[in-house]
């Protein structure tokens, strides 16, 4: 099912022309209403007239999280206060919180894109849907809530907390869909099992998971334990909230609502726009936003865009799985290297433990990369030739993936430090 075939299945030419028209309008709007953007554009010697096509977007300035903090609280707001009907804020753990004001039209767009997502997951007006994201300043709860209402399904605003009561409601109200973080879904499964129940006692069929990174193995585990099908739901409060992109039944990337949020992939170092298909930092321009429109907002999320008509029928461009954060990127001999690239190579080879460490150094003015990996006990061989061949196989694979050569160092089992939570995988010894 497709909520809005006119937009989600629009021809590429029509989409290009719609995006061009909207970008021109947006730039004119921010130029006249946001001093921050007007000043930036004047510094760069550009005016709204220079932006006629969506392809002209590369002329525009970028916006960063720091810009939002520096202009706290309302510096980037374009609409007058009387037009703002709601405000959300991100947590301010690393500085000023980010304040995002929404106009009535912004909220309508938001519930429209959320309805597209829910429809792609197979939710209809006959479903009963539990929103278990936090309700409040966080965009997850209310964002998903109004999407469900817009779609016409029954929304159960469970929010977070009191999981046993939640499970009781899931059973008694025959809730069929749930939106929550993947880690909460696992907690829900655990609680269900602790209560002596199983997936056969509930009728959940769809899970909309987002707001934190998750893996395919988590998806499988949640699906097995809750008996539902899990879909990715992507969004960020600076741009809108949940609904910026969503998976369809094909689950080969998440369709971006690109009539509202124009995506680009850039090289986070040179800031150049990269051709479609290449990996880099995801950047969004809010084509239709009134409250706090943003030009080329750098998400720091690393992924690639997938073009082409999807088997589901949608033409909207897709974003691949987020492979990391641009903060993690290393530049070695001028080449961008992400720890996640190394990880993917190592995970493919059963001879190695999933632990690894990258040691970056500069010796005689040349950057060096050493990849330390643990050989699994059962793959250790007494034959030096075989061990060296294994080492060479890994270094060849790394070279083809990274485009630079890395020195592989085979380590003893359990010699690389296991850290709790976010593992630290890089030691950069260069003094730059």
């Amino acid at each position: 099912m497709i909520w809005n075939p006119n937009k989600e299945c629009m021809s590429r030419d029509e989409m290009h022309s719609l995006q061009s028209k909207r970008l021109n309008k947006l730039v004119t709007y921010v130029y006249h209403n946001v001093p921050f953007y007007r000043n930036k554009m004047q510094e760069m010697d550009i005016t709204p007239e220079d932006i006629q096509s969506i392809d002209d977007i590369v002329k525009l300035p970028f916006t960063t999280k720091q810009d939002l903090r520096d202009n706290y609280p309302y510096g980037l707001q374009a609409a007058p206060p009387s037009e703002i009907v709601r405000v959300h804020a991100s947590s301010g753990t690393t500085g000023n919180p980010t304040i995002v004001g929404y106009t009535r039209k912004d909220l309508a767009v938001w519930s429209e894109v959320m309805a597209r997502a829910l429809t792609a997951y197979g939710i209809t007006r006959d479903d009963t849907f539990s929103v278990s994201y936090g309700y409040g300043l966080f965009t997850g709860g209310l964002g998903a809530h109004y999407g469900v209402e817009n779609l016409g399904a029954t929304v159960i605003p469970t929010s977070t907390g009191n999981t046993e009561k939640h499970i009781r409601l899931i059973r008694d109200l025959k809730i069929t869909g749930i939106a929550c973080t993947p880690s909460y879904a696992l907690y829900l499964a655990e609680t269900l099992e602790k209560m002596g129940l199983s997936k056969n006692d509930i009728s959940l069929k769809v899970g909309a998971f987002g707001a934190e990174p998750w893996t395919e193995s988590m998806r499988k585990e949640i699906e097995d334990r809750l008996g539902l099908k899990g879909f990715n739901l992507y969004g960020l409060s600076e741009i809108m909230g949940p609904g910026v992109s969503y998976e369809c039944s094909e689950q080969n990337g998440s369709h971006i609502c690109e009539d509202h949020f124009y995506p680009e992939i850039i090289n986070p170092e040179t800031l150049e726009q990269l051709p479609v298909g290449e990996h880099g930092e995801l950047v969004f321009t809010t084509l239709t936003k009134e409250g706090m429109p943003l030009l080329r907002y750098r998400t720091k999320d690393l992924c690639s865009l997938i073009p082409g008509t999807c088997a589901c029928g949608r033409t909207a461009i897709r974003m691949g799985r987020i492979v990391g954060r641009s903060d993690d990127m290393l530049i070695i001999r001028g080449i961008n290297v992400f720890p996640s690239q190394v990880e993917s190579v190592i995970l493919e080879m059963p001879e190695f433990e999933p632990q690894y460490m990258l040691i970056v150094d500069r010796i005689n003015n040349l950057d060096t990369l050493q990849v330390q990996v643990e050989v699994r006990k059962d793959f250790f061989s007494d034959d030096i030739g075989r061990m060296l061949a294994l080492k060479k196989r890994l270094s060849d694979k790394l070279k083809s993936v990274l485009s630079i050569s890395a020195e592989v160092k085979l380590m003893e089992p359990n010699s690389i430090e296991r850290s709790q939570g976010k593992s630290k995988h890089v030691i950069d010894k260069r003094i730059l």
């Binding site: 007494d382 030096i384 085979l410 380590m411 003893e412």
Partner: protein, 135 residues
């Protein structure tokens, strides 16, 4: 008859060999022969010890990557030309030696051989001027 050799994967790190010998010593395991093969970043320590199974267990418990390898151990006269004679016979019969290590003591020299074909190697050695050690 072939005997079991311990092969232990080691990083090139100061004190790592001592870790192995310390664990074996503490467990009352004696070493008969000892050889170290090394590359730039790792080495393979090869040992002939008294209690093979126990050695594997205590080393695995200490997180070492250990495996057992079949090798042939012989004793031949400690005189010029005696090893050459044996190796000549092996070569004639297409036995390829992956590695070997040896030590001489008094009238005899002990040689540990890792051949590509253990059974055939043992057959040929049976007709050579040497004795095949069993444990």
């Amino acid at each position: 008859m072939s005997i079991k050799q311990l092969s232990i994967f080691l990083e090139n790190k100061t004190g790592r060999i001592n870790e192995v010998t310390k664990i074996l010593g503490k467990n009352g395991i004696n070493m008969h022969a000892f050889s170290m093969a090394e590359t730039t970043d790792f080495g393979i320590l090869r040992l002939i010890v008294t209690e093979v199974e126990k050695a594997v267990e205590v080393l695995r418990n200490a997180n070492f990557a250990v495996m057992l390898t079949d090798v042939v151990c012989i004793s031949c006269p400690n005189v010029a030309g005696s090893l050459s004679e044996i190796l000549e016979r092996l070569a004639e019969n297409d036995i390829f030696i992956e590695y070997m290590y040896a030590f001489a003591e008094g009238d005899n020299a002990n040689v540990v051989i890792r051949p590509n074909n253990i059974q055939k190697c043992l057959e040929i050695l049976g007709s050579c001027n040497c004795s095949i050690k069993i444990d």
